[in-house]
């Protein structure tokens, strides 16, 4: 039966080529638009560290002066001052903990050559195990290196490829702004999307991965980084370690609800102490996890979801359009249906036959829609957005394209098929 319906459907579609083409084209346009925007939206709103985002927390406290403070309503700033960051880091009360700052850096093998410019991350030892950064060669540095202000560095795979031709460069050195840094590790390609640990620090939310990772203290010694974020008070802003500015991101890994509760108490206790000492005025603290933080800081651009919504609205228009065209096509063939009914085809048979036709249009629309989606993503990749290079169709989306296409066409086929199966045999034959 299936084969027979398929044959009938192909014949019927061939019979009126223009109408068939219009239906396929309409469906394909809608599918192309919605798959393109959906790919970008899922890409950008994905989980940067699946399986771990619930265990990563971002402690926040508020060192700003009293002016304008409303207890319980004022959000603590995203970053910490160096003083508070060091105090909290040295308490060692989380399973893992790392400070993060960012700076644009130029990396070379030797002076006198135009450096490769990229994002530099200034951080502490736990960064790599905490964020599951995968290593190609070597490993991250240890807490001792942090304390000893060791000039060591972890470089990205692409920097290693460009400077050392992809060879194991552990033990060799790179020059960063006139200082030698000894390579201890080379990362594989690693670029969490969104770049949750750095987005609020330097504004780069998406991208192909950071270039180098340096110990915070060693980098500051070398005069790298330490740009003030938000400042308060009238202290000196020349020394990043002493300036009254918040500029350091702080992350902790807490493995149980109990540990989270403990850490919350610790933060409150720290702030209470600081208030007692006259250093702090504001008592609010926050400990959002990664997911909450991404939501709060709105790391995923709104326009992306907006476009996806509009595209699906457009798909709906396309489906309605296909309903209309299919209906027109079905009812034009009332005579043919009448003859088939008179020859013994049941209503169910007619229904199945027309649904088969709709499904065929769906498959064709899916193939063409895939082409449109690739075209749309190609266009997206040529946009000046930061995430542009990431816009590619993955196998899941590939499959989803056909699911959406088939669902849309079958939905569109329901009404026409139902109407077609309702055609009375006698009157149609008489009229013919």
């Amino acid at each position: 039966m299936f084969g027979y319906y398929l044959d009938l459907a192909v014949r019927s579609l061939k019979h009126n080529k223009v109408l068939t083409l219009l239906m396929v084209l309409t469906l394909a346009l809608g599918i192309g638009a919605s798959i393109t925007t959906l790919t970008v939206a899922t890409l950008l709103s994905g989980n940067p560290l699946p399986g771990k985002s619930g265990r990563l927390f971002h402690p926040q406290i508020d060192p700003f002066p009293q002016d304008g403070y409303v207890s319980g309503q004022t959000q603590p700033p995203f970053t910490l001052t160096y003083r508070d960051a060091m105090n909290l880091l040295q308490l060692h009360r989380a399973d893992r903990q790392a400070l993060v700052s960012a700076a644009t850096v130029g990396v070379t093998k030797s002076d006198g050559v135009e450096p490769i410019w990229g994002n530099g991350v200034l951080t502490t030892a736990d960064f790599f195990p905490m964020f599951d950064s995968p290593f190609q060669f070597g490993a991250g540095w240890n807490v001792g290196d942090d304390a000893a202000h060791q000039r060591v560095v972890v470089i990205a795979g692409y920097i290693n490829d460009q400077l050392f031709g992809g060879a194991d460069s552990v033990g060799r050195s790179v020059r960063i702004h006139g200082h030698d840094f000894r390579i201890v590790g080379v990362l594989k390609h690693w670029a969490p999307q969104p770049r949750f640990y750095g987005a609020e620090l330097d504004g780069h939310t998406f991208g192909d991965g950071d270039a180098v990772f340096m110990p915070l203290e060693a980098a500051l010694d070398a005069g790298i980084g330490g740009m003030p974020g938000q400042c308060f008070g009238t202290g000196d802003q020349r020394d990043p370690r002493a300036m009254p500015c918040t500029w350091l991101g702080f992350w902790v890994e807490l493995d149980s609800a109990e540990a989270v509760a403990h850490y919350r108490n610790l933060l409150d206790g720290y702030v209470r102490d600081q208030i007692k000492q006259g250093q702090f005025y504001r008592s609010d603290t926050a400990l959002p996890d990664l997911t909450q933080l991404m939501h709060r800081e709105e790391l995923v651009p709104h326009s992306v979801k907006l476009k996806a919504g509009l595209a699906f609205g457009f798909l709906l228009v396309c489906v309605v359009n296909t309903v209309g065209l299919l209906l027109a096509k079905c009812l034009r063939r009332s005579q043919e249906i009448g003859v088939r009914r008179a020859l013994g085809a049941t209503r169910g048979h007619i229904f199945a036959q027309f649904m088969m036709e709709a499904a065929l249009i769906g498959v064709a629309g899916g193939v063409l829609g895939l082409l449109f989606a690739e075209l749309g993503l190609w266009g997206t990749r040529h946009q000046p957005a930061e995430y542009a290079s990431l816009a590619r169709l993955d196998p899941k989306m590939f499959l989803l394209t056909f699911v959406v296409a088939l669902a849309a066409s079958l939905l569109a086929g329901l009404l026409p098929s139902w109407r077609a199966s309702g055609v009375a045999p006698a009157s149609q034959i008489k009229a013919g």
Partner: protein, 418 residues
């Protein structure tokens, strides 16, 4: 009229489908137009500056220290010495320089507060080439120093202790003071907690000055910019505006680049390289994203128009075919071709019109939904007639071919049995 309405009542499925399609398309189209205009408005706003002859220098950041006021002035002098340079000002919050911008809330005596971008630097009116329409420029004695992120000492204090003179744009003057002449009027910061606010007095009005937070340059707020009587004191970041001789533009650009390299050479902070670009280049870069978004929205509009057109043509075509016999009878009874044509056009007008009304309600509901989830402004009602007009045009264009075919049906069809 009855002859138009009757068939629609009898076979309501086809008109219903057209109606549904028009309603959905209209709702989407209104919102897409609105989004597109949000991107387009800042691009169309006049800049107010001498765009062709302006060079901007920014991203000069000192490493581990702040630039002194003297260094800032030395930079101005070095730039003025470049052949082809007519004027140079060390400034903050310059046109198209959005790396750091200053937002000030201002309130007139009676009206609501508005958030404006503040530009400052010595002789900016002259350097940017602004057109003054009322009042005067700042006097040399009125300038007081301030720098970014260096509130350490009398050289860079935001609090002047006295009323500051301010130059506003014509658009702000209209918004804040209406028909009253703006020069001489008072402005103040609406925040009662701000103790550094001693009020501002308007001394001059310029015709246009596009703000540098371009994301806010929508809904008629493009010109919400003020000039403050400030020169650059000790500061963590420097930027310069340079006006050049039109005949020596290219030579001057190279000269400015060299002068900046000589003057600030290796002193900039790690990675932060000074940018020397013409205003036109900077404008081009600043609107790159908006342009890309506009192309995308344009593509969407086209797709919607095509799909809706195809849909209306297909459905009406079929409907005409079904009624061939009825049309033949009408023709035989004396209806002229023009009558048939008119009836189909009017019928389409009725269906599309109803669809548009539903579509407008949908557009509004969609916008309110979007506003709930995203920080999106209210859809102004003016977009609704635009969307409606486009849909009506699409409807009439779509129905034209089938209606002509209908009008061509000969009366003799009535006598045949179809």
């Amino acid at each position: 009229m009855r002859i138009i309405l009757a068939p629609m009542r009898r076979h309501s499925l086809m008109p219903a489908l057209v109606l549904l399609q028009v309603a959905l398309a209209c709702a989407i189209l209104c919102n897409v137009f609105f989004l597109a205009w949000q991107r387009l408005e800042p691009m169309l706003a006049p800049s107010g500056v001498d765009a062709d002859n302006l060079i901007l220098v920014d991203n000069l950041a000192a490493q581990g220290r702040t630039y002194t006021a003297a260094e800032s002035v030395a930079g101005e002098d070095a730039l003025r010495a470049v052949p082809g340079v007519r004027a140079a000002s060390s400034g903050f919050g310059l046109p198209m320089v959005s790396i750091a911008s200053l937002m000030v809330n201002l309130q007139g005596a009676t009206h609501a507060a508005v958030g404006v971008n503040a530009f400052f630097g010595k002789n900016l009116v002259q350097t940017l080439g602004l057109e003054m329409v009322a009042g005067r420029d700042f006097l040399p004695s009125e300038y007081r120093p301030w720098g970014l992120g260096a509130s350490n000492g009398p050289d860079s204090d935001w609090d002047t202790g006295v009323t500051q003179p301010v130059i506003i744009t014509q658009a702000l003057a209209d918004k804040l003071f209406g028909a009253t002449p703006a020069v001489g009027q008072w402005l103040h910061d609406p925040d009662p907690n701000d103790k550094s606010d001693h009020g501002y007095q308007v001394v001059g009005v310029v015709k246009h000055l596009l703000r540098n937070e371009l994301g806010l340059a929508t809904d008629g707020r493009a010109d919400y910019t003020v000039l403050l009587a400030r020169n650059i004191g000790n500061t963590a970041m420097l930027s310069y505006a340079v006006r050049v001789d039109p005949a020596m533009r290219d030579i001057a650009l190279q000269g400015v680049k060299n002068a900046i390299k000589r003057q600030f050479g290796g002193a900039t902070a790690g990675g932060a390289r000074a940018r020397v670009q013409t205003y036109v280049q900077k404008r081009n870069d600043a609107f790159k994203n908006a342009r890309a978004a506009l192309w995308l929205l344009l593509g969407m509009v086209l797709a919607i128009v095509i799909v809706t057109l195809v849909g209306i043509m297909g459905l009406t075509g079929f409907w005409v075919q079904r009624r061939t016999r009825q049309i033949g009878i009408r023709r035989a009874l004396g209806a002229r071709r023009a009558h048939i044509l008119r009836d189909f056009l009017v019928e389409n007008l009725l269906i599309v019109g109803t669809g548009i009304i539903i579509g407008m309600v949908l557009a509004y509901a969609g916008n309110i939904l979007l506003m709930h989830y995203y920080e999106l402004p209210h859809l102004p009602w003016t977009y609704l007639p635009v969307g409606a007009a486009v849909m009506l045009a699409i409807g009439q264009a779509g129905v034209l071919a089938p209606a002509m075919r209908a009008a061509a049906v000969p009366p003799v069809v009535a006598t045949r049995s179809v």
